[in-house]
């Protein structure tokens, strides 16, 4: 009977995540059809297991205790432990609040995906920070074509207004052609991240980008320069208006784009704190 409950539990878990919309805090909604179909698969298996268990029960009575189910061979505590493994994720997913990735994750693991380490002095590691870059995989021409396409798209706009949809693309283009965007107006949201390398007028504005699920997220954003110390704390969300420029940033040993902040205000954490990578380019 426990098996039926576990399967039901999984069906309910997937249903619950979809019904409440919490699923978007775990995975890229582009792939939601997969977990959506899992509701029905689990529900179906629940019914199957229920029928099987019932039938077994009947047989059990007929044959007077000669049950051949292989599970019955292992000792009771082992079986209990076995099922605990299945019950744990159902309980932990339903019971514990969903954590939003924030600067703690940035700090705790460094940048596990872009390969950024806040403490490392190695510039080759740090340069990965913030910059989605795909150049190595192109023939030179192919990559130039693609980036030119992006450039001509973003390059035409007199002011860049970043939103959930274009955030990752726009950031990549800006890092690719920092010069082209000099003096361009930019407007975007993100959470505050103080790095050990920034001075009191500088901070990073970042967002987590997600490919499939939270496990494969990375962090992307821009360095910002304020005219006077903004006194912002890590993880405060802000809306930034400013002007793009480039700076030789000593700690990274590289020239990177940054934003001269003209105006800013704090905002509430958006409904959708993550940006998702799309397939269309």
């Amino acid at each position: 009977m426990l098996r039926t409950y576990i399967l039901l539990g999984f069906a309910f878990l997937f249903f619950h995540l979809h019904a409440t919309g919490d699923i978007s805090k775990y995975i890229n909604m582009r792939y939601s059809y997969l977990s959506f179909s899992a509701i029905f698969l689990f529900a179906f298996l629940t019914i199957v297991q229920f029928v099987i268990a019932n039938r077994k029960e009947k047989e059990h009575h007929c044959h007077d205790g000669c049950c051949h189910h292989h599970d019955e061979e292992s000792p009771k505590w082992k079986r209990a432990l076995n099922y605990m493994v299945f019950i744990f994720p159902i309980v932990s997913a339903l019971l514990f609040p969903i954590a939003t990735l924030d600067s703690d994750i940035v700090k705790a693991k460094g940048f596990h995906i872009p390969g950024f380490d806040t403490k490392s002095e190695d510039p080759t590691v740090q340069r990965q920070f913030l910059r989605p870059d795909t150049s190595i995989y192109y023939d030179k021409d192919g990559y130039n074509d693609l980036m030119q396409k992006e450039l001509s798209y973003f390059g035409k706009q007199r002011r860049l207004v970043l939103n959930d949809e274009n955030y990752l693309k726009a950031i990549e283009t800006v890092y690719q052609f920092p010069g082209e965007f000099s003096d361009r107006e930019i407007e975007f949201d993100g959470f505050v991240y103080h790095d050990e390398t920034t001075n009191q007028n500088q901070l990073f504005i970042l967002r987590f980008g997600i490919i499939h699920c939270v496990a494969d997220s990375g962090v992307y954003g821009l360095l910002t320069q304020f005219s006077k110390p903004p006194h912002l704390k890590n993880d405060e969300w802000v809306h930034i208006k400013g002007k793009l420029s480039t700076i030789y940033y000593q700690p990274y040993n590289a020239t990177i784009p940054y934003v001269e902040v003209k105006s800013w205000h704090t905002i509430r954490q958006p409904e959708e704190p993550y940006v998702f990578r799309g397939y269309d380019r």
Binding site: L41, F86, F88, A108, K109, D133, T134, C213, D216
Partner: protein
């Protein structure tokens, strides 16, 4: 406490991502169990060992599987009498050369075919070499538990479908356990082990390949997402090291290694791990 919540979030997200594929896997496994007879296996698998290995390494191209869903299928095929050398190459390349994964690799590397080719050819070479070695080394099935296979031909169609479903449930409880434990370990690794430890080890050709392989194992990403992660490492690591990441991860990670140990004899799994590690490593040095 907060870090535990983040761990839990990552853990649940890995499960949400992989469960649908495991469900597909257990259904297919059930169908194999009830509908594939040993005579069919005899007929389909080429007698010539080399041919069988090649066939097995390439069949995955037609078959959308991921690295956790494919283990139950593999075990079922072996239990049905398909020789190891005709299954293991399929298990190794299946999560890599299937259409969905190749497409996502293509997109992740900016609509360029170069990494797609390297990734698929590299994985096929590794799988073929391992298949050939296994064909000489092992004659028996190396399964942990001998499974009694009742004759399926005598059953009615209705019984067969019922059997398929019952089997799918059994299989879910058999392999799901290791998926859950593996996902938990992987998310703990992501939360508590600084990746910078790996990255600090070095950037030589050999060390960077090893680092990327270790990372692929520890992160336990779905083979459909790993290309995007690899692409974010490109300034830090050589093309060969990235290819190693993309070939090693789908073949071995925390989740599917646990599932392998549950299905096959410990010694055999260790040997397999050693082969995969050695050949992927050597191969990456040539790229």
């Amino acid at each position: 406490m907060k870090s535990f919540l983040q761990l839990n979030t990552i853990f649940v997200s890995i499960l949400i991502e992989s469960m649908p594929f495991v469900l597909i896997g257990v259904f297919i496994s059930g169908i194999i169990q009830m509908f594939v007879t040993e005579e069919m296996v005899q007929r389909w698998v080429p007698k010539n060992k080399v041919l069988a290995v090649l066939y097995s390494a390439l069949i995955g191209i037609l078959f959308p599987a991921c690295e956790c869903g494919i283990v139950p299928i593999t075990r079922r095929l072996v239990a049905k009498g398909v020789p190891l050398h005709a299954v293991i190459p399929f298990m190794l390349t299946g999560p890599i050369i299937n259409p969905i994964v190749l497409f996502s690799t293509y997109i992740a590397f900016g609509s360029n075919i170069k990494m797609v080719l390297y990734r698929s050819i590299f994985s096929c070479i590794v799988a073929v070499i391992i298949g050939l070695i296994l064909s000489v080394q092992y004659k028996d099935d190396q399964l942990r538990k001998k499974e009694v296979i009742s004759s399926v031909s005598s059953k009615t169609l209705k019984e067969k479908w019922m059997g398929t479903l019952q089997h799918a449930v059994d299989e879910f409880f058999a392999s799901g356990k290791y998926l859950i434990i593996g996902a938990f370990i992987a998310s703990a690794m992501q939360t508590y082990v600084k990746t910078s430890i790996f990255l600090a080890i070095g950037h030589g050709k050999a060390t960077s390949s090893l680092v990327m392989m270790a990372l692929a194992f520890v992160l336990s990403l779905c083979s459909e997402a790993d290309a995007f992660i690899a692409s974010s490492f490109q300034n830090t690591f050589s093309f060969g090291a990235l290819a190693a990441f993309l070939v090693y991860g789908p073949m071995l990670d925390i989740k599917n290694t646990l599932m392998l140990f549950q299905s096959f004899k410990t010694r055999f799994v260790l040997v397999l791990i050693a082969y995969i590690t050695v050949f992927v490593f050597i191969g990456s040095l040539f790229i």
